[in-house]
Symmetry: none
Subunit: 258 residues, 2 copies
């Protein structure tokens, strides 16, 4: 019978198998999006597993955002199952948003020192390169009416890289680079939003100009100060952005009674 064949196929009583079987049932349309699926006790009987294993299986589906669970109510099939795939690093920032600002804190420190050393140790060749990178970035930011945000971000990064390389400390360059990569890979979307708004973009441009001037002029203290200010601004802008998106989320939740 059906029950027999199910048992033969479903012999494995492991949480992974439980999750796979339930997922299959959902994909086959037995359990439809929005539907409340059977209670844990009942699922235990049907799937012939203990409640502990079943719960670990449900945990897997929950972490894949395939189901949602409310105590005293039950588990419902999530309405949106398109692959919401995110990088493993994103998880870190989603669950611990504070980490983003921890990262910015460290980056500000290194960026400041980098600018300081660049102004103090930079050779004339370094300054030529820094100025070149700065001009490429500034020209593109000013002239272009329709801005390709991604390209601007690359130019921005190239400018900061040139400054850090002028510090002549490869360890500093490398550490800074990896932190920046981490930052961009996690919140590139947010950074893009920053460039899209005129206000923040102009502030960033002004700070870049001052940073360039200080480094080229060899004013180390001023360079560090401007760099710190720059990172502080970015941090504040990201904080505002975060608060904003939280407000949006909350209002969206209020409008979603079903």
């Amino acid at each position: 019978m059906t029950l027999l064949s199910e048992e033969r196929v479903a012999g494995q009583r492991t949480p992974e198998n439980v999750a796979a079987r339930l997922e299959r049932l959902i994909l086959d349309g037995v359990f439809r999006p929005g539907q409340l699926l059977p209670s844990e006790r009942r699922l235990c009987e049907r799937l012939k597993v203990s409640r502990a294993s079943l719960r670990e299986g449900l945990r897997i589906l929950r972490s894949k955002q395939i189901i949602e669970t409310r105590q005293g109510h039950g588990s419902t099939v999530a309405s949106l199952l398109p692959m919401h795939q995110q990088s493993p690093l994103m998880h870190l920032f989603n669950d611990h948003p504070r980490t983003l600002f921890d990262l910015l804190e460290v980056r500000a420190l290194l960026e400041g020192e980098s600018a300081f050393l660049a102004a103090r140790r930079g050779t004339s060749m370094d300054r030529v390169l820094i100025t070149r990178r700065y001009r490429e970035m500034a020209d593109y930011a000013e002239h272009s009416e329709s801005i390709d945000v991604e390209r601007l971000a690359r130019l921005d990064h190239a400018f900061h890289l040139a400054v850090s390389q002028a510090s002549h400390n490869p360890v500093l360059v490398h550490t800074l680079q990896s932190l920046t990569d981490l930052l961009l890979s996690s919140v590139f979307a947010s950074v893009k939003h920053l460039y899209h708004r005129e206000g923040p973009r102009e502030m960033i441009n002004r700070q870049h100009a001052r940073l360039h001037d200080a480094v080229v002029a060899g004013d180390a203290e001023q360079a560090r100060h401007v760099a710190l200010e720059h990172l502080t601004s970015i941090t504040e802008l990201l904080r505002e952005l975060e608060a904003e998106s939280e407000r949006l989320e909350r209002s969206a939740m209020r409008m979603e009674p079903w």
Copy 2:
């Protein structure tokens, strides 16, 4: 009030909280990539949760690919997430020994900030831990007649780690840790020499004492100052050591038979 808020952080016996606490420990470097973490039974005792809840917590981390589990063996921290734990910098040290001092430069910066933040943000619990680590180190350094240099180095490292963890910035802890690992793996022999000489050892002890006092007293500026001084001293000592060994090399070269 304090008890309530602490309980909210560490007392929640929910799988999500278990996962968050373990992730925090990994982020802070208590459990490091590749390391085998304690058995489930032991973790139950430490985190004060049942094995079922703990296992659901581990399931969360596993689905995020933060840990890997093998039956009969244990769970290991995935070596996937380290930002720059694996050092592509290593080859730099072989080719250009000067990089050592670049590293010390960056490390001084981070240690300084770490001490600064520890003094400013450290909780009473943090201070207790810092003091404990300091006493362990200081007691061993004073009492023991025949000093096991390797053990002293470990105690030293534990003390600095406790300070950095009090900064409550996991990114800072992580970066600092990887730089320290890099340093020790490259010049541990030299560091050993520092501990062997009485003069440097006493200077280091005094600086550790002042660093401890400043952090515990909450004097952030002083803490940063002492930390910077500490790293500066070490740098100078290593410079002298380097010059010394160069002299030795040269004299050895003069004796070379060819």
